[in-house]
Amino acid sequence: MFKIAKYVMYDILRSKVLIAYSLFLLLVSFSLFSMEENSSKSLISLMSVVMIIVPLVSIIFSTTYFYNAYQFIELLVAQPISRSSILLGEFLGVSVSLLTALLIGVGIPVLIYAPDSTGFVLMISGFALTLSFISLAFFSSVAMRDKAKGIGMSLMLWFYFSVIYDGLVLGILFSFNEYPLEKAVIALASFNPIDLGRIIILMKMDISALMGLTGAVYKQFFGSSFGIIYSLSIMLMWIITPLLIALRIFKKKNL
């Protein structure tokens, strides 16, 4: 598994995409931090960027990488290597590469301009989102035989979680605004890793008052130590579940 991960990383490092991604993040982070005097304001802007760019790049990069590595996988399957270690090795290799890019692109600027707990939470959210979207990418690439369909599915997943889902939640809140929705709102946030990541950061920033009653409910729940454990374990679920489903499909796949 680790050997496979090593070759995957070796392969990714030679493609320029990852370097471009790190440089882009680095550029965005530095420019956001240098535009504002107040570092927490920049952190909010940076968060908005991270919440859109990181999942998108993670899911599309991983899906295309998986299809391009199909020949490598085909070669490995005929060798005395178990299918789980092939898939997990691929996952590990892609994950380490993308996390390193994020660490360089966002981690370094945050360390320079905002080395506080909020910056730390932003990094944790970014890492968790990267991992869960790689996991989702592996799910769609294993489920779809055709490259175009796989990338399409990945794009749809990203679009759903970053745009459609929020619209649906808003719709629900409007239609049922005469009912007590506090618990439902928390439950709804758990079904979307991007929302969850955003809430974790916002709670840390103490600006939940801006979000009205919902903010107060969030603050009460996600601000508590139980809430933190809860949100972290839900995040973990978002990383593990798609990967496990992908593993199940991959073990039975005809290559």
């Binding site: 392969d11 085909e74 399957v77 005929a78 060798q79």
Partner: protein, 237 residues
């Protein structure tokens, strides 16, 4: 050494293997023949665990291969069309395979040397011709000194000299008591190398016997004619 039991496989509506019961023994060179799409490659991929059978079992050394992967340490596989990571160089492929499969006590690099692949070690895989890719595949199949060799159309795309080197290697493997399974459409090759012929017809084993028995049954001197006769007969039934 390898035994299949009522092996069945469908791809969607296409029923490719319809109950295959065969046994391959060490020291045999089995030639698997059949029309295009008769299930030759599917059978091979089932044995390799690349395709999972719907029904039936496969035993390698009397152990079922279901859920196992270590048995592949004893198998060297040369695919019909080798797919390799395109941006890796030949040398890197060989180094990686040695790194990933550390089970061989003695590496057999003779094919690699005879094909002079070490001179091409710096060439990337995407720049190779079909024939050179086949040479890489063949060298990799023999590299780990496996007890079983599975070669899917090994000489297709090789130049006559390279094909001759490979044939000599296959006959040498047989004399060492290895099991060699070959699919080939070239009858003269079957004649040269194989001692057993297995004829797959529409997903079933139509004929599985030694070459001498094949000649006796059909009354033909040449393997090619004998096989053609069987093929015609099966098509009439």
């Amino acid at each position: 050494m390898i035994r299949t039991e009522r092996l069945e496989k469908s791809f969607g509506k296409l029923h490719v293997l319809k109950g295959i019961d065969v046994e391959f023994k060490a020291g045999q060179v089995v030639s698997v023949i059949g029309h295009n799409g008769s299930g030759k490659t599917t059978l091979i991929k089932c044995i390799l665990g690349m395709v999972l059978a719907d029904k039936g079992n496969i035993y390698v050394d009397e152990k079922s291969i279901a859920g196992d992967f270590r048995y592949r340490e004893n198998i060297g596989y040369m695919p019909q069309i080798g797919h390799y990571p395109e941006n890796m160089k030949i040398g890197q492929i060989f180094r990686m395979m040695k790194d990933l499969r550390k089970n061989a006590d003695v590496l057999d690099e003779s094919l690699m040397e005879e094909y002079k692949l070490s001179e091409l070690f710096e060439k990337p895989m995407h720049a190779l011709s079909g024939g050179t890719t086949q040479k890489v595949s063949a060298s990799l199949a023999f590299l780990f000194n496996p007890k079983v060799l599975i070669l899917d159309e090994p000489t297709a795309g090789l130049d006559p000299l390279a094909a001759e080197i490979l044939k000599t290697k296959i006959i040498e493997a047989k004399s060492k008591g290895k099991l060699v399974i070959i699919t080939s459409h070239i009858m003269s090759e079957v004649e040269e190398m194989a001692d057993t012929v297995m004829y797959l017809y529409e997903g079933k084993v139509n004929f599985y016997n030694s070459v001498t028995e094949l000649k006796k049954q059909t009354g033909e001197e040449k393997v090619g004619k004998a096989i053609a006769k069987i093929m015609k007969e099966s098509a009439h039934v």
